[in-house]
Assembly symmetry: C2
Homo-oligomer: 361 residues x 2
């Protein structure tokens, strides 16, 4: 590729080559053929019935515990509207997804960020915070291949979090869009499966089907789901039935399993190439290669000005997101690399540009 | 049809026989073939570029004046979030769409309902209200084949409204989902076309393509659209690109013109059957047959208890919406009949049941 074209390590989106476009086209055809009335009508705010049932079955719960929405960000928005009022204390991971931070701060939540380690949130620090009198309403946790850090919370910490939630009476918001994209290590049980009445679980088909289909969902206690469904009715009557019928057909045919395998294989290769390139070109970088997902967190030596690095990289045709964007404060020597949207060749070239930018500082 | 099956005059939704399912299936195939990257990626919150441009062209405006959303209810929600704060005065028609009323009241708006006549809102009453000191922020107007009344505002009243908006500095929210469904009389210019900087215009493909596709849009001043796009980004990143690409292909191929013709022809027949049946079976009913759209407003003799009629109709297998649901108060002797989702045979049978219920009171 020409070195003049910008390489993006910034956007957490898949490259087109790992999307099953032909499978989607076929699923769309089947959606209109097999259920024209259901796909074209308004439907209701809980989502397309067949997809709702498929998701419920996948999680081993009753359909009453599921609402299917226009992407999982919209699901988050409804959940926050339902549960979080101005001044309510909300726990987040440090670092965490920038859009979640913005959404919580816009609602006027009192956001408490608790340090994230490679095996998950610091549960002892969280316990001290709660014992110190922070009456948390909600804890937002991205359990698998976290955005932005790429870390996965251990089983022991999952159990400890549930204990703390029961003891201090808060809800765990288990935000899990990357769970299917594991390419190494052993899968861990969801917190939802460990305590279905203490957890509201969110996931999405953006990473397993495609982002443009905008289908996400929540699983939680029936009364919470019913309250959120009422908010959804008042906001948009119903979510996209055509898109949800397409996703249902894609899932029911088994295309989703093939799609997940394609994505996993590609991401495993990309993260290996990324780690090798960083070790070779930029040995100053510290990182924990993730076992799945889209993102790797990189820490540069103390004192590195990643703001300046971002500018120097842009001059060299490389984009990434500064670590500070995922934090309430600090993180000046960190960055997030998204490897989901770049080929192995682009990764090699991108890391060269990153190293060159670093050495120019 | 068996008299036991419920006939619904309640829901403003099209029957499946007037939806071009085969055209949609073909459009979906083309969407994935002609622009796989655009249809499957996140895109941005202003919507799918080709559809945005098509809509802009249709209204003779720059694309910067258009945002395409997940249905027009979602567009309304963004617009109200942007423009209407707690306590702000908002003008609505009396009667008006029940979901709009609910949405405005939930936001804490001070809602002022101004009487609607068969030729549109009472502009003299509105002028008196404004002169009396009501500092309106927004006036919500459904100009064509109004929901629930079926009425259309005259050109003279459109112009007068724009004068009042300029004089008292408020925005007109021209909510126009039914405009394409005119089957009689002369089309009138939109208020948007008369004063593009005083009006924010909303419409939708729910009535011309299908509701389940959930694609709506706003047209307005570029700075207002940009502010709403930011709210949309923060809420759901981007709307459904797959659905918008399907709508684009449906429009670009000309299928939409055939679909509109199908819908118009069917609705014209249905409203004629409805008016005849009412004159025959329930001569006590007063109504103005609409020149387009989905709805007809029916006034029964003073003192009729439409709440009781609703129950008596339900016992006979007929559903409709009480007029009072579209009003802040009053309307006890009125009802809305939606003829969009019923066949001529069902209309005849439904009116018989309505008359029977009326005579049972």
């Amino acid at each position: 590729m020409p070195s003049s074209a910008t390489i993006s390590f910034a956007r957490g989106a898949p490259s087109l080559d790992i999307i099953d476009v032909e499978g989607l086209r076929a699923a769309a055809g089947r959606a209109f053929e097999s259920d024209p009335a259901g796909a074209t009508a308004y439907g209701t705010s809980v989502g397309y019935g067949r997809l709702r049932a498929w998701i419920a079955d996948r999680h081993g719960v009753e359909p009453e515990r599921v609402i299917v929405t226009n992407g999982s960000m919209q699901a988050d928005a409804f959940l926050f509207e339902h549960l979080v009022s101005k001044g309510d204390a909300v726990i987040v991971e440090k670092p965490t997804y920038d859009r979640t931070l913005l959404s919580l701060r816009t609602r006027g939540a009192s956001v408490h960020a608790v340090e994230l380690a490679p095996d998950g949130i610091d549960v002892d620090a969280l316990a001290r915070l709660l014992e110190g009198g922070v009456a948390a309403k909600l804890a937002h946790i991205i359990p698998n291949f976290q955005n932005p850090a790429g870390y996965t919370i251990s089983l022991a910490k999952r159990r400890r979090l549930l204990e703390l939630a029961a003891q201090h009476d808060f809800t765990i918001f288990e935000d899990d869009p990357y769970v299917a994209l594991r390419f190494g290590g052993e899968p861990l049980p969801t917190m939802l499966s460990l305590d279905p009445d203490r957890v509201i679980y969110a996931s999405s088909f953006s990473k397993t089907v495609c982002p443009g289909i905008r289908v996400g969902y929540l699983v939680g206690p029936p009364q919470e789901i019913a309250a959120i469904a009422q908010l959804a009715t008042n906001t948009y009557i119903s979510p996209n039935m055509v898109a949800q019928a397409i996703v249902y057909e894609f899932c029911a045919s088994g295309a989703i399993e093939r799609s997940i395998e394609t994505v996993r294989t590609a991401l495993a290769e990309r993260v290996a190439v990324l780690a090798d390139a960083l070790r070779r070109e930029l040995p100053e970088a510290r990182f924990t290669p993730p076992e799945g997902g889209y993102f790797m967190w990189v820490t540069l030596p103390e004192g590195t000005d990643v703001g300046a690095l971002h500018g120097a990289a842009a001059e060299r045709g490389l984009a990434f997101v500064k670590g500070g964007d995922f934090l309430l404060a600090g993180g000046q020597n960190t960055l997030r690399i998204a490897y989901s949207g770049v080929t192995p060749e682009q990764i090699d070239e991108g890391v060269k540009r990153l190293a060159d930018a670093y050495h120019s500082l």
